[in-house]
């Protein structure tokens, strides 16, 4: 048989598949899905589990390891027979939540976490790549067998070239049928149908070879049984651990493999199909495995030593001259390989596109992603690119690991990789307490252990992990040897890696889940998925689209008020052309209504309310969560308002106090101005009056002199008053610059006596001083201190009412202060007035004498305050007595 004929047959077969797929798509589009979507097709599509590995490898496995190959069928059989336990739940969740892939399921379960989706996607890619390489390898090998009819080995002229073209062809087919259109549920009728056909072809092929072997080569079943008894297969010891491990692995694989999830869950059209598949698929697997041992035994008997047992299915018919049968077997293997690659590529492209490419694309498209057409195009492009990339990866892996392992080993490595999703999947389905963080930790832990203990060593000792590390461990740490972790040696490498990766994965997942808290969305999703049957049971009977417009009206009235609601509905009724004022509850109207309501109650609430009446309960719980979120925001907002209002009332209080203070100040100012006015007008009244007299009258010289003197004195009084005012104003308000200098108390009193004019005034005020005590050098503002003395001496002169007025001045030291007492021999100040004398214009009203402005003592008090001292009235003396206290600071004895 020529290689060219083989190629032509292959192409013809592919064209047939194209036609089948195309026809199925057309039927589905025409709505005639009954046949396309039957439980038979569903069951057959599950056979995507049986890849070239099972087709060719099972025989090879049986030839090498006896009945061990059965484990690969045993796991899925157990899972399907117990379909109501896990599969039914998976399918129900997949349908109600519109799950598109296993990554999508894990992401949805753990609060729609795209991070988890990415991790699962990466694991799936890593776990599937070797498997795709395996398919390429098997197709390449089978081509090689045909080019070397002896079947004694393989030496294809250009195996990697064949593999490359096979990869290209598969990519093309997958793109054509896997990404023809974007269905919301990601269902691919054409592909599923083509795979069902392939399932039939590979089953027929294997059975045909089996029948030929049993009845054509051997002499019927009895002879075969005898041959089996005599062959080494019967003597194989079964390792219990490996059996359990492999059964577990294949059971995990059927749940976690992306392609199995695709056909089992995503492509499922009816839950009832699952019940059929639960017995029909194990039956299919049984038929597939029925002739494995006979073929292996005959192959070992018939073919020369060293022939590749993985290819017995092909090489036996060839060596017996059965070209047609060999061709059928070849097509069976080809079907196995292509169906696996196609479905896997579709599943992976959905995952990569949804969880990696689209999030990145959308993050670059801020706000621009609203044009649906554009996004659809991007999705298609990203899926097609991903398909090409996945096949390219598989091809590269094939080139890298070519010939390193037998077919079965590569398949098992793949299985173990994707099995890392199992603990998270099962935990997510049955344990509400599982959290996102726990899932992430579990996945990463399991995947890391898998990569380190199984995947990387699979490249061989010259590969990524060196022989030294394999035998001695990294950095000489023997307990970290990839194939003997924690010092547990002697285990089968696969079982060893599987045990540790799943154990540590589960441990991390459970432990982290227990110590972390799920977010509200995670809780919600956990409830919806774990109790999926309770959630979906009641909603089945909803008749959609039968929205009661009256109910909508009542609700709208509650929110918008009757008149506005009626206007809204009436306008809509007119737009629809409906008689009356109640419009039909069309989707457009519901949308408009929701937008309108969201202006009043927030979008989430509006959506939930409309949804409740419209019976769209699917998204209701999620909406309620958003409602709660909005309520939370409103609560926070009102708290902020409350806080602001407290601040405002505090500010208002402060303002009120400030206002009261200002009002008090204003009253003080009015009183002060009134006083000033009085003090200024009084001398001015005298001046004006006398100047008028002087102007108008003929006066005696004596009178004239007298009146002019009055005017002169009153002018001086005015000037003094203004000086005092200015002084006080400066002292009270401005930043007074003190002119610090040195001087003795005696000098300053001398100056004050001179300035106050005591010597020339009448009656003469006698000063009683002790100059010896006054020899104290003071470091202070000497001019201002002198001013205080001037005022005190001046007051004594003006107000002392004794016949022979005397002012005693005494200087003494007390602790750190200098005390200066000014005491006259007059009648003193009445006790009820003593508290007032230092206030402005408090010139005691019973004092008959004129001239004082009442500012002197106020000025003294201000000055002493500035100098760090004080001035006080001393009651209980014979006359008016003032004590000036000056601090010792910068003071020393002369």
């Amino acid at each position: 048989m020529s290689f060219d004929l083989l190629i032509v047959s292959c192409l013809a077969y592919v064209v047939l598949l194209f036609m089948v797929a195309f026809a199925a798509e057309r039927r589905a589009k025409q709505g005639r899905q009954e046949w396309v979507r039957s439980s038979l097709v569903y069951t057959l599509s599950l056979s995507v589990y049986c890849t070239a590995w099972t087709f060719y490898g099972a025989v090879g496995n049986a030839a090498r390891s006896g009945l061990e190959y059965l484990t690969i069928y045993l796991g899925p059989t157990l899972v399907l027979l117990a379909w109501w336990l896990i599969l039914r739940k998976l399918v129900r969740i997949g349908r109600t939540q519109r799950i598109t892939s296993i990554a999508d399921l894990i992401a949805a379960r753990f609060g729609k976490s795209n991070g988890l989706g990415v991790i699962v996607t990466l694991i799936a890619v890593a776990g599937t790549t070797p498997y795709i390489a395996l398919q390429l390898q098997s197709v390449t090998l089978s081509f090689a067998v045909f080019t070397q009819p002896s079947g004694s080995g393989f030496a294809p002229t250009d195996p990697s070239g064949t593999a490359f073209w096979v990869a290209v062809g598969l990519a093309l087919f997958t793109i054509l049928f896997g990404t023809r259109n974007l269905d919301a549920n990601e269902r691919h009728h054409g592909v599923v149908m083509a795979i069902a056909v392939e399932a039939v072809v590979k089953l027929l092929a294997l059975i045909a070879v089996g029948v030929f072997v049993v009845w054509g080569v051997a002499d019927g079943p009895a002879d075969i049984m005898a041959r089996i008894e005599a062959s080494p297969i019967a003597t194989w010891e079964l390792s219990g651990a490996r059996w359990v491990g492999l059964t577990f692995l294949s059971a995990a694989a059927i749940l976690c493999l992306p392609r199995m999830f695709q056909v089992l869950v995503v492509e499922n059209a009816d839950e009832a199909h699952l019940a059929t598949a639960s017995w029909a698929f194990p039956l299919y697997l049984l038929l597939m495995s029925l002739f494995v041992v006979p073929i292996a035994v005959i192959g070992l008997d018939l073919l020369p030593q060293g022939a590749n047992p993985d290819l017995f299915v092909l090489s036996i018919p060839l060596s017996e001259g059965q070209g047609g049968l060999a061709m059928l077997a070849f097509l069976g293997g080809f079907s196995s390989a292509t169906s696996m690659v196609i479905v896997a590529a579709i599943a992976l492209s959905t995952m990569v596109s949804n969880h990696i490419v689209m999030p990145i694309y959308l993050s670059f498209q801020k706000g621009g992603a609203t044009i649906a057409g554009d996004v659809r195009k991007v999705v298609l492009i990203s899926r097609r690119t991903t398909i090409i990339a996945v096949l390219l990866l598989g091809y590269l892996y094939y080139r890298l690991s070519s010939g390193a392992e037998a077919l079965a080993a590569i398949g098992l490595i793949s299985f173990a990789g994707v099995a890392q999703v199992l603990p998270i999947l099962l935990g997510g389905l049955f344990w509400r307490g599982a959290t996102r963080t726990g899932a992430a930790f579990g996945l990463i832990t399991g995947f890391t252990v898998w990569a380190y203990a199984l995947f990387l060593p699979s490249f061989g000792e010259s590969g990524v992990i060196s022989a030294a590390i394999l035998t001695e461990g990294p950095w000489g740490l023997s307990w970290l040897r990839p194939q003997a972790l924690f010092g547990i040696d002697g285990m089968d490498p696969l079982v060893h890696a599987l045990f540790w990766s799943i154990a540590l994965n589960t441990l991390a997942f459970c432990a982290i889940s227990i110590i972390t808290f799920p977010t509200p969305l995670e809780r919600l999703q956990a409830a919806r998925l774990v109790d999926v049957f309770a959630y979906t049971a009641g909603t089945r009977g909803w008749a959609r689209g039968t929205v009661e417009t009256e109910d909508l009206m009542i609700m709208t009235q509650r929110i918008l008020g009757p008149s506005e609601a009626q206007a809204l509905f009436q306008a809509e009724a007119e737009r629809q052309g409906t008689a009356g004022y109640l419009p039909d509850a069309s989707p457009e109207f519901l949308e408009r209504l929701e937008r309108r309501l969201s202006g009043s109650v927030g979008s989430a609430t509006a959506h939930a309310m409309v949804g409740q009446i419209a019976g769209n309960t699917e998204a209701l719980v999620e909406d309620l969560i958003r409602v709660a979120g909005e309520a939370q925001q409103i609560l926070e907002y009102s708290q902020r308002l409350e806080q602001k209002s407290t601040e405002l009332s505090r500010t208002a209080g402060e303002l009120q106090r400030a206002n009261e203070k200002l009002t008090a100040l204003s009253v003080q100012k009015d009183a002060f101005l009134s006083q000033i006015s009085h003090e200024l007008r009084t001398p001015m009244a005298s001046i004006r009056s006398f100047s008028e007299i002087l102007r108008d009258e003929s006066l005696t010289d004596g009178e004239r002199t007298q009146f002019v003197t009055v005017i002169h004195d009153e002018t001086l009084r005015l000037t003094r008053l203004l000086d005092d005012l200015l002084n006080l104003s400066v002292l009270e308000n401005a930043q007074v610059t003190l002119n610090i200098g040195q001087g003795t108390i005696a000098e300053m009193i001398d100056r004050a006596v001179m300035a106050s004019g005591v010597k020339v005034a009448t009656p003469v005020l006698r000063l009683d001083r002790r100059k010896r005590d006054e020899q104290i050098v003071v470091e202070t503002d000497t001019d201002r201190l002198t001013q205080v003395f001037i005022n005190l001496i001046g007051n004594a002169q003006k107000y002392c009412d004794a016949a022979e007025p005397v002012l005693r001045i005494r200087v003494s030291m007390l602790h750190h202060d200098i005390l200066l007492d000014f005491m006259d021999n007059g009648s003193g100040i009445p006790s009820d007035s003593q508290a007032l004398i230092f206030e402005k214009f408090s010139r005691l009203t019973d004092s008959a004498s004129s001239g004082g402005a009442g500012l002197g003592l106020a000025i003294c008090r201000e000055i002493m305050g500035r100098l760090g001292g004080a001035i006080d009235y001393m009651p209980g003396q014979s006359g008016a007595a003032f004590r000036v206290r000056l601090p010792m600071r910068a003071v020393q004895a002369a």
Partner: protein, 121 residues
């Protein structure tokens, strides 16, 4: 003997000026500078006109005015209120208590003479 004016005022120079102006016009001017005793002096021999300063030591001029108006013997005595504060409030207060006339310091000599003449009628 001319008519009598009682000047209740505590500023010596102002007393001097008013006394000069009125005496030259033939008035008999007596003065008193203590608010506390002013009413006793006034009511003992009510003058023809009283010139009353608002701010006095001992008792406020407004207070004295009120008593003058509340007392039968002095109710009809014309009173000219003088004040140095010059605020509207003081004028209103003076009118309220029944002042016959109101003048602020500084004043024009001619005005005070004319007012006193008018009050004595």
């Amino acid at each position: 003997m001319g008519k009598r004016v009682l000047l209740v005022e505590d500023e010596p120079n102002i007393i001097e000026a008013i006394r000069f102006i009125l005496q030259r016009d033939g008035w008999h001017v007596s003065s008193h500078s203590d608010g506390a005793t002013a009413f006793d002096i006034l009511s003992a021999t009510p003058p023809d006109v009283v010139i009353l300063d608002a701010m006095l030591p001992g008792r406020s001029g407004f207070d004295i005015l009120r008593e003058v108006r509340d007392t039968d013997e002095t109710r009809n005595v014309p009173v000219l209120m003088l004040t140095a504060k010059g605020q509207v409030k003081d004028r209103e207060l003076a009118e309220h208590y029944g002042a016959s006339a109101f003048m602020t310091k500084p004043f024009a000599n001619a005005d005070i003479l004319a007012t006193v003449r008018a009050l004595a009628g």
